[in-house]
């Protein structure tokens, strides 16, 4: 029993660290670029990592109330990425 909980805690810890690290690395990519495309993709990665972080937080606290937040971010997170991309490609995002 204890082993299971320890295992669980360790996995949580590890996941947090991995997600936090990848978030930071995405951030670095965003700052150094070099291309606008890289930066937009980095932001998109950060959105996905953020979903992971929030879900992990929910698991860690044993609550479901954060679920809808992740639902909305997952559903609409791509919109700003698409908008940036359209802006780079066409200049006008609604034409």
């Amino acid at each position: 029993m204890n082993t299971a909980i320890d295992l669980m805690n360790g996995a949580m810890m590890l996941s947090f660290v991995i997600l936090g690290l990848s978030q930071l690395m995405a951030m670095v990519r965003l700052v150094i670029g070099p291309d606008t495309g890289d930066r937009i993709l980095a932001l998109d990665t950060m959105v996905i990592n953020a979903i992971g972080l929030i879900v992990l937080l929910g698991i860690a606290q044993g609550t479901q109330v954060y679920f809808e937040v992740t639902l909305i971010i997952a559903m609409l997170g791509f919109v700003s990425t698409v908008a940036y991309a359209r802006f780079v490609l066409r200049g006008d995002i609604i034409e």
Binding site: R39, I40, A50, V65, E68, V69, A83, I94, E95
Partner: protein
């Protein structure tokens, strides 16, 4: 009829002429007439009570804490004025129907007229001085609209502006006076104030209150030195001049002096100020009137003079003076309105009001001649007409009045005033109607139809009737006088009669009449002298004064308010930091009561990212797109932070708002260069850096300090926690606060949101309607563009996402009351779902499939929210009281029905409409000439035959 209804009828009826405008002029005037007639009859139903000496009162508390009660009372004085306003109003409406030409918008005119009428009736029936002030300002505003009715005439606009400025300033000072008066008496109700004569007159604040109130009265009633606006207001259509500037509005000041007579009069201050102002106005007005060539200007100055006469009579402070004043108000209203209407007829038929171009109209316009002559003779004070009677009473009163210890001053001035008054009346008759018929009238004059001459003719009937049989008016005037005097004095016993014997007043009257005739004989040499004499021109002085004030205001305001946003925020930031620092240094600081929370690695990583994003923004902000991306990080990390602090509602809102903002800013960036140019000096940037760093440090210090301490007063959140479920029926406190506890705030906010969106729409419309449109249409892209305008992958994806997003939106909306969510978030979610359709398939394609306009959606939202609030009135609860219940419909589980959900629906609709309208407006600006609107959702579609057409168009 209830007094409420009498006051309300003109206001309610003011809607009708505008609505009836398309039904024709007859219907429009007819409905206005009916409205006024109903109010008039309603007033007459109260006559028996008033004549029996009773005071009819009704009242409801409006804002009792402020002493503002909607109390109305009808006594003799109020009845008298209301009768003048409504009775003459009926004649004016008839006259205006025939006076206004086909080009004039009659509905607009009658709407303004009824608004004015309602405000006037409100003044004379008010029993609360604060209520009276409201109506007072309403007359100023509605008269502004009426004077400026002919918007194409610059004189009309200038005259209206001048009238509004002068009477508005007077109104402002009167507010001060009334507030002081109310403070002294301890109540704002007239009935209470009128009973406290001694208290008020002994107060040290009596003099300031008196001066402030008199300023209001003098400006409104055009007393010297504020008499100059009235002649300039004559640019109004004649019905307006006849109504406002002879019978009603200019008498409002006099009404108020009469109303306040029992408490304010009788002191030396009152006597000196009011009598002097009245006397000067009377003589000055009469002298100027004689030399005016414009018929209406002549009548305007004669009105100024007669108002001075009435003011002077009220100033004497004797009961007889008050009675003479009341009698003269009645007489003046009848003959002056008739004269104005006759002047209007002459203008209407001969197309000029210039006396020098008239003359000999006696043969051409016999009916008008008779009406105008009777009116003018009455004004001159010729026996057997009503003007004679009140003028005799005035001279008699003047004879008894001693001003500045000089017994002869008032009688001589009064005689001089009467003399000039007789002279201009004679000039009006002889130079307009007598003499030979001329051949050079601008238009062939003839008598008009009965619609125009009947109203003045009706007014001439009492002129003669009272003149011949004064006893007809006596009981009525005495009844009015009794209510003016109140308990301050007894009604004089003097009878109204034509022959008083060989009294001094008779000799003064004879001197005036004979002198008037002599002046008329000597008119030509007198006019030469008058034209040669230098005189101050009121309009020039007034405009110079206004320009001077504007210049001073500009010098004060412009250096502070130069349109530079960074300057404003610098001022604001420095002030706030300074004040905060002062508070920190001088106030007491408690010790920390909370522990610092441990910082785990993940929050530190999030914090690092926020810091990095903010710092990056500082250094990279000249690249606009990049700074937008960095803002995106900040938004994302703040959302995660909200979740970390257990605020999922805020996280959802933050994220959706973020997405909409990015789209909005990208739409705007389309019109801007990619890089922000360097526009400020190094010095300025250093200054801004210092301020920004100081602001950041101050914010940090404040939040650090605050987070470590419990708040001084118990927070309101305890109440919310306790009552959210019990009172609001929801477990999601955030949502219950939004739609229930602070529902009224939210209601205001969605209205503001809707207005903001409509303003964006209006600005876009204005921009596209102007010369900018061509430049926007022909603008060329500043960089090479990808070929596929509407890629298939995106189209397919957004179509698939749409129902899912709607479903989630619906889910978020429904659960909002008990779980994180609600109308606001779901509105944002749904509008993002719609925006991506715009992004995928283009503006034209999406707009063509739009079934409801966004304005309508905003309106529906505000309406639903408002109706939900109003619904609680039906169960006798205050606005927006919420209610909820639990129902069970098999086979579902028990669920909750709350009125708050309906309100939330309103919020939802308003948010969707506002967001979409704003985004749509901005993207409409980006239409370009070369981009063809496609009827297909995507440019390249393998299942279509004419696949390349759209592409070719694009390349071409």
């Amino acid at each position: 009829m209830s007094l409420f209804l009498i006051v309300a009828l003109p206001f309610l009826g003011a809607l009708l002429p505008g609505l009836m405008n398309s039904a024709g002029r007859q219907a429009c005037a007819g409905i206005t007439f009916t409205v006024t007639l109903s109010a008039f009859i309603g007033l007459l139903t109260n006559a028996p009570a008033v004549f029996a000496g009773n005071v009819v009162t009704v009242g409801v508390d409006w804002m009792p804490l402020l002493g503002l009660n909607f109390n109305l009372m009808l006594d003799g004085l109020g009845f008298f004025f209301a009768m003048l306003i409504l009775g003459i109003g009926l004649l004016i409406i008839t006259y205006a129907r025939f006076y206004l030409s086909r080009e004039d918008n009659m509905g607009e005119f009658f709407t303004y007229l009824l608004l004015f009428q309602g405000a006037m009736v409100g003044i004379v029936l008010s029993d609360n001085i604060l209520l009276l002030l409201i109506f007072w300002e309403l007359t100023s505003l509605s008269s502004f609209l009426l004077i400026g009715y002919w918007k194409h005439l610059p004189e009309g606009r200038q005259g209206a502006r001048m009238a509004l400025t002068v009477t508005g300033m007077g109104g402002l000072s009167m507010i001060g006076g009334m507030l002081i008066l109310g403070q002294i008496a301890g109540s704002y109700d007239l009935s209470v104030i009128l009973e406290n004569r001694e208290l008020i007159q002994e107060s040290p604040l009596y003099l300031p209150a008196l001066i402030l109130i008199l300023l209001g009265c003098f400006t409104k009633s055009a007393q010297f030195p504020f008499h100059f606006w009235l002649p300039h207001a004559m640019a109004a259509p004649t019905p307006v001049s006849a109504y406002l500037h002879s019978a009603t509005m200019v008498k409002a000041g006099i009404f108020l002096m009469a109303r306040m007579w029992p408490v304010l009069s009788g002191t030396t201050e009152w006597f000196v100020i009011v009598t002097t102002a009245g006397l000067i106005t009377m003589v000055l007005g009469a002298v100027i009137a004689l030399f005016k060539h414009d018929l209406k200007a002549l009548l305007a100055f004669s009105t100024v003079s007669h108002l001075g006469l009435i003011t002077m009579l009220l100033g004497t402070g004797t009961a007889f003076g008050a009675m003479a004043a009341m009698f003269h108000i009645l007489n003046h209203a009848t003959f002056k309105a008739a004269l104005f209407m006759s002047a209007g007829i002459v203008d209407h038929e001969a197309h000029t009001r210039d006396i020098r171009r008239l003359g000999g109209l006696r043969h051409l316009m016999p009916i008008t001649f008779v009406i105008a002559t009777l009116g003018a003779l009455s004004m001159a004070g010729i026996p057997l007409l009503n003007g004679f009677l009140s003028k005799e009473m005035m001279l008699e009163e003047a004879n008894r009045t001693v001003l500045f210890n000089t017994p002869w001053l008032v009688p001589v001035m009064a005689t001089v005033g009467s003399l000039f008054s007789a002279a201009y009346c004679f000039r009006l008759i002889s130079h307009t109607f007598l003499g030979p018929v001329r051949k050079d009238y601008p238009s062939a004059p003839h008598d008009p139809g009965a619609g125009l001459w009947m109203p003045p003719a009706i007014l001439i009937v009492p002129v003669i009737a009272i003149g011949v049989a004064p006893f007809l008016a006596e009981p009525f005037v005495k009844m009015v006088t009794a209510s003016v005097l109140g308990e301050a004095a007894e009604v004089p016993t003097a009878y109204f009669k034509i022959w008083h014997g060989l009294v001094p007043a008779l000799f003064m009257s004879i001197i005036a009449t004979v002198g008037g005739l002599i002046l008329l004989g000597l008119f030509k040499p007198l006019l030469r002298g008058w034209d040669a004499a230098p005189r101050p021109e009121a309009k020039v002085i007034f405009e110079g004064l206004v320009e001077g004030i504007v210049a001073v205001a500009k010098r004060l305001v412009l250096p502070l308010h130069d349109g530079s946003f960074s300057r404003y925020s610098a001022f604001a930031a420095v002030t706030i930091i300074g004040v905060g620092y002062y508070a920190w240094m001088t106030g007491t600081v408690g010790t920390a009561t909370r522990e610092l929370q441990p910082a785990g690695p993940v929050p530190v990583a999030g914090w690092l990212m926020l810091v990095a994003a903010a710092l990056g923004l500082v250094f990279l902000h000249r690249n606009r797109l990049l700074s937008l991306v960095l803002i995106g990080i900040a938004g994302l990390m703040v959302s995660v932070g909200f979740v970390f602090f257990s605020a999922p509602d805020l996280a959802m809102t933050q994220f959706t708002v973020e997405a909409v903002t990015i789209i909005l800013l990208l739409l705007a960036l389309n019109f801007l260069p990619n890089r922000t140019p360097v526009e400020s000096t190094v010095l300025r940037r250093s200054r801004d850096t210092v301020i920004a760093v100081a602001g950041g440090l101050a914010t940090f210090a404040l939040s650090y300090h605050y987070l470590l301490r419990d708040s001084v007063a118990p927070a309101i959140s305890a109440f919310h926690v306790e009552n959210s479920y019990k009172g609001g029926g929801g477990t999601n406190m955030v949502n219950v606060i939004l739609v229930d506890f602070r529902g009224f705030d939210t209601y205001g906010e969605i209205i503001v949101l809707g207005i903001a969106a409509l303003v964006i729409y209006a600005l876009t419309e204005a921009l596209l309607g102007g010369p900018v449109r061509a430049r926007l249409l022909n603008r060329l892209p500043d960089q090479p563009r990808a070929g596929d305008m509407h890629p298939m992958m995106m189209v397919v994806m957004t179509r698939v996402m749409m129902p899912i997003i709607m479903m989630v939106g619906f889910y978020i909306f429904l659960r909002g009351h008990n779980e994180p969510g609600g109308g606001f978030i779901s509105g944002l979610v749904v509008s993002i779902g719609v925006v991506i359709q715009y992004m995928a398939s283009g503006f034209g394609w999406t707009t063509a499939r739009l079934r409801y306009p966004y304005h309508g959606i905003i309106g529906a939202g505000v309406l639903i929210a408002g109706l939900t609030g109003i619904g609680s009135w039906f169960v006798a609860k205050p606005f927006l009281t919420s209610d909820f219940t639990y129902v069970r419909i098999p086979p579902f589980n028990e669920f909750e029905l709350a009125t708050a959900a309906l309100f939330d629906l309103g919020v939802f609709l308003a948010v969707v409409g506002a967001v979409m309208l704003a985004l749509e407006s901005l993207s409409r600006l980006a239409r370009r000439q070369e981009a063809m609107e496609s009827e297909y959702p995507m440019d390249i579609d393998p299942s279509r035959e004419d696949n390349d057409v759209a592409l070719q168009k694009e390349e071409a």
